[in-house]
Symmetry: C2
Subunit: 187 residues, 2 copies
Amino acid sequence: MSSTDKPGDTEHRPTSSTPAHAPAGVDYFKFDVILRFLLFAASLVSVVVIVTGNETKFLRPAKFRYSPAFVYFVAALSVAGLYSIITTLASLYAIKNPALKAKLLLYFILLDVLILGIIASATGTAGGVAYVGLKGNKHVNWNKICNVYDKFCKHVGASVAVALFGSIVTVVLIWLSAYSLHSRVPK
Amino acid sequence: MSSTDKPGDTEHRPTSSTPAHAPAGVDYFKFDVILRFLLFAASLVSVVVIVTGNETKFLRPAKFRYSPAFVYFVAALSVAGLYSIITTLASLYAIKNPALKAKLLLYFILLDVLILGIIASATGTAGGVAYVGLKGNKHVNWNKICNVYDKFCKHVGASVAVALFGSIVTVVLIWLSAYSLHSRVPK
């Protein structure tokens, strides 16, 4: 048994037969947990901010529930929040059980991609409608509403911005998993 | 050296040193090329359909260019189309040079994820605004416009549907790359 190994590889030494040849790979599971927690926080903040934005002016209320786009947005971010709780726990579990890691990295990529599609499209949908509310559209006579519903618009804008941050976190999560998986492939 | 390994490891037997242990992995590059071509076709159709939807009724034209949401949509899908041409060529090149495959799979995942974010958000943006055009929104007095601009709305709707198909193709592409990369990791 040589004792000249790189520090990280010691666990593979004792058996010199095949399974031990798997490269240890770079272990980013701690970052993974942090990012998943960030995603959870972003989803939660985003949902809470848009839901609390209801405002009434001149007896006419503005509620996120009046726009199908914002309803979809809240539903999508709620799903993302729930998903991030479950996968944070899965990621923590993998830190204790390293044998699961390669398999889990694959599942994380497969599922994270779906969640990315959902968050990104929801952010786009809510952002697109919010932009019409902000600027209006002269060509079709859609009046801007943000000059009236000031608080509501601020809440929607902040919520969309936080969701955009959540999308970016999800992209980084997938990058991390892909890189980590690739580092386990023998050269 | 114990010879009591699990049955699945037989291919690792002949050489006991590392590089030869790389599992061949499942090779999905042919599917990859087909899917990337599909993504190109979807992007092209989607852009062409929305751009050709311009319509004039009662001397008032409806053009995709009048809505920032649709402009973003066209830009995003054009980027996706260009990207899919480049990566189709890269994928074809990898079929001839198998040594590149593991590396390329990683790059494909990293970049495809970005493109997915772009297409999904653009589809959401255009879809959200198109839905307002279709149904209107009584609460803020945004009138529906699809009863007037029939052809324009059909083109926008078809274009968004094709872009949604493109997003799904991108998800499948990432799944394929992730699965293929995972199959190269030693058990």
